[in-house]
Symmetry: D3
Subunit: 329 residues, 6 copies
């Protein structure tokens, strides 16, 4: 059995607050003895549970990295009970490139778990997180947003799980997060997801979608920061009660009928925006051709009643792209 070549440059068990790296040796044309240096912060104090907070699973999603840089810098170790391990940039090469998948191996980290100790760069990172960091944690919060090509209503989410107690604990943590929307998800294709890897180790797991388009706003960054603080309060690592900014609306994506795909390449003309209520058969978008004027657009209509919860972000669309997700309420 090959050993994972990643080593941390700081101790994983504190005490106090230390900032360092996961160092992964990576030999390549521009550095024969180079490394990938994945920033990490460990904050530890007294007795209490361990939270693993991760961002940058996809490299073009920014609410997580912002919130985690903020928390790594601002949290005073004296105020916590337990341990917080912070990885704002999980797929570090992708974060530096501003891309969903790693520019080194083209791997989507969220389909690479449990990883391989002798695999590609992304697979090694996934494997180290899976085998070393997740086992240390009681609760894992992994931030996602839509990235450069999708946009979402802001929500935290839990999965339907076989273990009712574990599911209940996850749902409670999602509620504590306190995003404007909350979602229960049934993953059809859960193979390789970080979510699945964490849940299969019996941990409390919270994931999010907090916006998208490859940007963050003051508001979405605030939701992300307060959400993590709330989860940390919920599990007793931070003191005090959770702080909610109004209620969290429940959403549901019960089946594949929610998803609307493009059948043509073209220029996307949206007819409904995120959060809009739509009715079955209502036109929600047109696709205009890119090579001529005067041709009829393709019209995309809603498969069901509901609320527009996610949408294709770029102005151009390719056949096969998911254009819209209509959630039920």
């Amino acid at each position: 059995m090959t050993q994972n070549p990643i080593s941390p440059t700081i101790p994983l068990d504190g005490p106090g607050k230390t900032h360092g790296f996961l160092r992964l040796p990576y030999s390549r044309n521009d550095s024969a003895w180079g490394s990938v240096m994945i920033p990490m912060t460990v904050i530890a104090n007294g007795q209490g549970p361990t939270a693993l907070l991760t961002g940058g699973n996809h490299g073009d999603e920014y609410e997580g990295p912002i919130a985690l840089q903020h928390l790594a810098y601002e949290i005073d170790p004296a105020e916590i009970s337990g341990r917080i391990i912070i990885l704002p940039y999980m797929n570090y090469p992708a974060v530096r490139a501003g891309t969903r998948v790693s520019p080194i191996d083209q791997v989507n980290m969220n389909r690479a778990f449990p990883g391989k100790p002798d695999g590609t760069v992304s697979q090694k990172i996934a494997n180290y997180i899976n085998d070393v960091l997740v086992p240390l944690a009681d609760v894992v919060l992994d931030y996602h947003s839509g990235g450069k090509t999708l946009d979402f209503l802001p929500y935290a989410a839990a999965h339907y799980l076989d273990d009712a107690d574990q599911q209940a604990a996850c749902v409670a943590a999602v509620r504590a997060f306190g995003a404007p929307y909350s979602m229960m998800m049934r993953e059809i294709d859960a193979v390789g997801m970080f979510d699945t890897a964490v849940e299969s180790q019996g941990k409390v797991f919270v994931t999010t979608e907090l916006g998208g388009g490859g940007t963050a706003t003051a508001r979405s960054a605030e939701i992300a920061i307060r959400g993590a603080q709330n989860v940390l309060r919920h599990v007793g690592i931070l003191p005090g009660g959770i702080e909610l900014e109004g209620g969290s609306r429940m959403l549901d994506m019960p089946d594949d009928v929610c998803f609307h795909f493009a059948t043509r390449d073209g220029l996307l003309h949206p007819l409904a925006d995120l959060g809009d209520q739509v009715r079955k058969d209502q036109a929600i978008a047109k696709i205009w051709p890119l090579d001529r004027t005067g041709a009829a657009p393709v019209e995309v209509t809603a498969h069901r009643d509901g609320i527009l919860a996610a949408r294709h972000f770029p102005g151009l669309v390719q056949a096969g792209d998911c254009l819209a997700v209509i959630a039920t309420i």
Copy 2:
């Protein structure tokens, strides 16, 4: 004097509605006798002025192309008096690539006017528009948005001009457009702009910024469509009165103090959103480092009181990027 090699595949003077192309021969590795085919629609009927409607001056700005595809398809020639020339994709190679500048020659078309008949592809297109299409027009509406790297409050705009009558006519057309915001602009660096080229020919000119991020929304597309219809009604090409959806708030960018630049590369943490009122010295953004945790962020503070009218869009920022524009009211 070299002749511009571009030729239209349809007559420029109607009558009725015809859809065709500006054909520009372009010899290259993958097509020795290829062409750039720039879609164009001409709608002509009866007596009346000529409007030139253009989008895709930058290839990653979508409200204009959407509105112009919609109008080219929907306008009934029988209902107009005069002529409408529609070019939804001015910098066609950039539009197909989804990029600000042309992938062929890296030219920013809005700094390429009046163009060159024997220049690069972008310069030839600019030259044909400048020398052939603009002279035919009485009014020119050129759509812009923020593109993939900027985001704007939605506004139409006119320039301060030496000719008071021309300026008044432009302002009247901007008001007719009816965007949520309106802007008077004093261009410092007007060399090469389409705006300048049109205004120097004595035409009525309206430009816009209608959003950004490389996407369009149902709402921004609607503003774009209604704005063009209003301008066409204003000049008498379309019948009926202009339709406004509430008032248009006036903005001003009086000087360079409005612009806020990044001095470091990093992760952009916005502290104010578009439309927010900000006070001088208020922190409007932080920049976190991309290579470590635990380091203090750079804080960017407002140079003046005002409203956040434009912002850097991507989650990552490079030193020298304009982070924010604070307009006065």
Copy 3:
């Protein structure tokens, strides 16, 4: 066992003629929830066998795609007995790029069978065809040509098989195809080929080489169309007798001596053309250097008597390229 994520957007069993796609979810930087949409037509009517007709196994070979677009459009379901499944663009990403192998994973689809349900894009496509479509078929016709770097005399071909009955059925189908040349082939390195995958399922299989250079001609397109019609008539899916345009000359490539390789990079100066009779030791090509004049060329001579059946197409040649194949008659 992972399930193949590909799903058809149309039923595979008709009735009538339907056009749709094999949809393969493909998450990537430019579309987080994107898909590869592989066009497919199913024509079904009454009782009869099933034919699977495939093109675009290599993305730069055009006779197959042309013939299959033509047949998908022209065949009247009322006239057939049985079912025709048409995939003109098997390696769809390669077809769109005009390249032999897929631009996504650099995989040569004809060495990727039986594929993997959890592999790369090409491996998933191969696996779906192998596991779902081939089992439905009685006869499979897979079109090849030389692509951008080889040129062939036009032929249909069958392999020497262990099962004499299966081989006889294949040969009969090749004869029915009616190309100007016919070929019996003994594959040395059959691992991963679609041919092998189909034959190992006991199906009747016809493959072709119908020209090359990354182009098609009116004549080669006609051979391809008529060949498929003849095979469909031969198996009783289309009515009527097979139509031949003159005889089909038998070719043989008995061993490796047929293949002639370049030992230098350079400029290829052919001394014999496709279809020419050559004699052992006759010079069939020279290679001139690319970096100087006045140097002696390398001369390539025929290893045996025969007919020039295939040749390197591009004007430049690299050491190791197959320059010529001399078939025996």
Copy 4:
């Protein structure tokens, strides 16, 4: 006035046969003090005219380079009277890359004349040829073929010129070349062509189109070699009479009606081949879509009666590509 930095490594005036280079200093990232070394042969003996023979004006056209490597190697200086200057690879960087235009500056050398001594690499080469080599010549033969994206019937050609005597001399040289077809051409857009640059210096000029597709055949190479020998015999540099292989058929491209352009991207389905007689309104090609099956193809019909003299070569076509040229006879 800047001086052209190119210098020959061999004398331009012989005597005898010498092989060398035009050396152009070219500082770049991978060689700060590098050069472009353009191979050249000079053969000089006794009294007589000077012929300049050039190939590789476009880097993906191979009959010229083959013929000129052959002649540079085979011609015995003792047998000639006068001088032959041979440049098989004019746009040397393009020839090495196998591309039409230079990979260094993206310049089409045949639109770069008379060049610039302080321009880009291609412009410097064009300028040296224009200012130094052409003035030495009495007759210039410049080889072209269709390159990777066009295919032509094999012809030599002369232009209609203002100077009747010069035109007659050119036509006589074209006839001497003895290609299967001969063409009189009226260049509309002659700006920047090598042809124009040579003719404006009062020289006898022959150009050719001898095939295409980015390949050469034994037959097209033979036409190219014999053609140059014939021209050299015609002007008295080589002894003996010209050798014709059957007559040369005259073609004419009287106007723009000869050219047929694609209006859609797609898969090209040719319905007529080079040399075929076609009638006005006859379908000569279909274009099938690349993104679906079952859609009607676009049909391209002949604008006039005539013979198919040139065609688009690649199997895929882009809107704006010239699909076919129908010559009159």
Copy 5:
């Protein structure tokens, strides 16, 4: 079990001196029936051991290729007893590209052993060498240098091995090589190395580091040539005694403390050179920022006393790069 598709174009057992290739069929976009042609020389005469001499394991290390081209050309088969198999360019595609890893599959050949017969190009080459060539050898000499990103003091090296006799034989060969420095190495991460593959077959193995920076000097080339001659004399293939140019200084890298890594990107300011004696805590380098002036540099200090034996070569450094190796004496 798949068979390795590589075949030699010359016999591996002589007699005399023959030059040829290992031919690896490699189908790709620019040559459907192309090959990788790896140059090889076999020299055989009389009775005696077999030496396998390899260079180009990494494609940007030049002392080995130079020495092996020299020896392949200069050695007279009559003077040897036994056999010499010479592969100057093991990772041939990387050598042609001047890169550490293969441009085809991005594989570091020295982590690809024992290879795979059905793997990527590099894996197939590694497998052929492992399965066919190494078993033929008694002694293997594999040349390394620092490549484009590292620079080394010139040394030959042996590994600590479990088999004391084998280790002694290796050490004797290293001493015979006679480089200015000699090194005993304990590989921590030996998985996939050619070294390990050879040693595990019980062979005598010598490796080297002879300089770096992606260049060779007259002096380093001389060391490389004389070293191989000495090893061949040592095992009796070449006659005569070994020739030393002064003593060889022993170096040791006992543990990970020798390695010094950068923690910031920036401009590398070295404060000690190769061969310099340094003391623990002495500053050996500074890293200046690339985006500003006036900021304090990061200072790198020595972890131990010793001699600077290896260093990062390029002027720019990335976080995680190995900056320096301090060996003990």
Copy 6:
């Protein structure tokens, strides 16, 4: 006349030490309102001359940037009399890319002077330096080294100038610099050089070549730092006398015979090193082929007696590369 859009973010006239940027607005796909931020330090105190110190004219030459970062950080404004303007990274985009020429416009900045205010990025930078900074200076020191593809003996240099007084002043400054070697140069092709631009403004100018290969050593960095300090002492900006580390040997490159070019691509086998004395006709390098073994190398011999002063650095060489410069003493 267009105005140069570059503006400094700090005053150019002090007093004290300030660190800032030259800001050049640069609109591009990844930042519509982006800038190039060129780091600059101004140190001013009391009365005295102005020195302009520049590095990074070529982006892969490191002694200048190191010395200038060091001086910008270390110099105490209180100790100087006059002003020092420091630009360590003139061609900033090239420095960030580690390339000789700018990745933005492929411009060699040292052939771009006097620049263009409306040109490309490099031309704008050159123009600002030429029109704004050079006029402020009395003495200009511009650092060069060999970059990634050349290696030099370390020298400072002056040009032969028409103005004898100016030349004498330059020579005196070169001597003050105190590099191990000093050089008088006669530029043949001085068009566009920074050197020429500075000298034509009547300034004292010192240039250097201080090593190469795209690296710096402790020793070369020390020469660079001490050289600038010496020049500043020489002109009275820094107090104290110049410090020499041994004598400076005079070199001369009297004519083009000094330069030795490669006529083949291949593997460079050096037979002499920098600083070696060589004799006319002595072999100084061999070039081995990259595509085979067993072929005779091309041998390069010295054109004259002298000392090897510069050499091609990379292990691979292309035809036309300068392999070696032999200086006379």
